[in-house]
Symmetry: C2
Subunit: 249 residues, 2 copies
């Protein structure tokens, strides 16, 4: 398709933005796109969330998947729509953002963005040889203090949703290898919640969850005492959830 055909096929009023969290043991990252903008004689370098206008022939979920696949080469990634934002003037914060939208051929009147978050296990998916698109890079969430447009506020809301979901749904196991140690599980909860957890309480809690069970295998080739591996059973999880109502603690 030529550039003009592509533009004609875009809906100028709706975009999707993806908050792609990446987990490596010890660190929660976010995938961001670097922009270099020249505006009024100055060059700005800043960061934005991956996103795009929605095509006229695709629905919102398809658009978000497309953005993610174009960016990483990966598909079948956990992807959750969590927020639609349509505040008047949400893109008008920085004059240079408007200028940039014009230069890449996007109109200025995007009115709604639908935000998705997704989770990638960086370690595991490295093995799958994903290749990041030019200008895309992982950044530590804790170090992101400024983003283009209203993207920092979208990131903050995604983080809230991720933390809530982590407590309510078994998404932790999307981010862990099939066999994991309790130390790795605790580290994941600590990294995402931003809280330090007490080891004894955490292990007591896990011991009460029938869907997390030890397997007959231990770490090898580690310098410390090898830890036992655990696995998550989705089947047992579904069974225990079936007729429960919210969390008895």
């Amino acid at each position: 398709m030529s550039d003009s055909t592509v533009l004609e096929n875009l809906n100028p009023h709706v975009s999707v933005d993806c908050v792609v969290f990446g987990f490596e043991f010890g660190k929660l990252d976010i995938l961001l796109i670097e922009r270099n903008i020249e505006f009024e004689g100055k060059v700005y370098r800043d960061l934005k969330l991956p996103g795009d206008l929605v095509r006229k022939d695709e629905d919102l979920d398809t658009a978000a998947s497309r953005v993610l696949t174009e960016l990483t080469g990966l598909d079948n990634i956990y992807l959750k729509q969590f927020l639609a934002i349509g505040s008047p003037g949400r893109l008008l914060r920085q004059p240079r953002d408007m200028e940039w939208l014009r230069t890449i051929g996007h109109p200025e009147e995007i009115v709604v963005t639908v935000a998705y978050y997704s989770l990638i296990n960086i370690d595991q998916d490295k093995a799958a040889n994903y290749i990041l698109q030019k200008n895309a890079c992982w950044y530590a969430v804790s170090e992101v203090t400024e983003l283009a447009f209203d993207h920092l506020s979208i990131l903050q809301k995604a983080l809230q949703v991720l933390r809530t979901d982590l407590n309510l749904k078994p998404i932790a196991f999307e981010l862990l290898p099939p066999k994991f140690t309790l130390r790795q599980l605790q580290q994941l909860y600590e990294v995402i919640s931003g809280l330090k957890l007490d080891k004894r309480n955490f292990r007591k809690k896990v011991a009460g969850l029938p869907f997390i069970a030890p397997i007959n295998e231990k770490q090898v080739d580690v310098s410390h005492k090898p830890a036992r591996y655990y696995s998550f059973s989705h089947k047992i999880y579904l069974k225990t959830k079936k007729d429960s109502f919210y969390s008895a603690t």
Copy 2:
């Protein structure tokens, strides 16, 4: 404002739709708007969700609140954004729907609707003397089999979200009076989930939840043996949730 000023102030590309659930003991209702459309010489009467285009100067949440307040006179109602839908052709199912959009001055090119659900305790709010707008009426959810546009699919998704939320969050208590019997609580779970629950198991479950406690008061003026009242403590609920991760059962 004149009609044309109102129309000028509307964003033709974004709408909000509200799935307003009403609970009366024994029944889950939904608030729907009756349409009478004449199309190709025939008169159609059908039902739709309350909704409107978003105004250019308001954000999505404000638009949804406005629709609800205009409809019922109530504000401060539990209102949750749960889905943005932008499937191509979502409004094109029935030619008469297009005709109707034209006659009320709305353009045909609405591209995204953002759906909210809200909960109203019909009994309690009757006391607040809310008045429904003309053409709006409560219908039993179980009897709704057809709606205009893609509204039936929006209703079905709202019902899924409501059922999930009912198991994860204390929204049941938005729908119950401040003091309630265990029979009333069970009935609420049964009505929303569409499942018959075992009384003994349900009471055992409730007994394990520290935030639902008996109070020193019983029913009066009832023809059966008066039941004890219970109350929900939001404070204790928050405390027990503080450092839990998802549901231990």
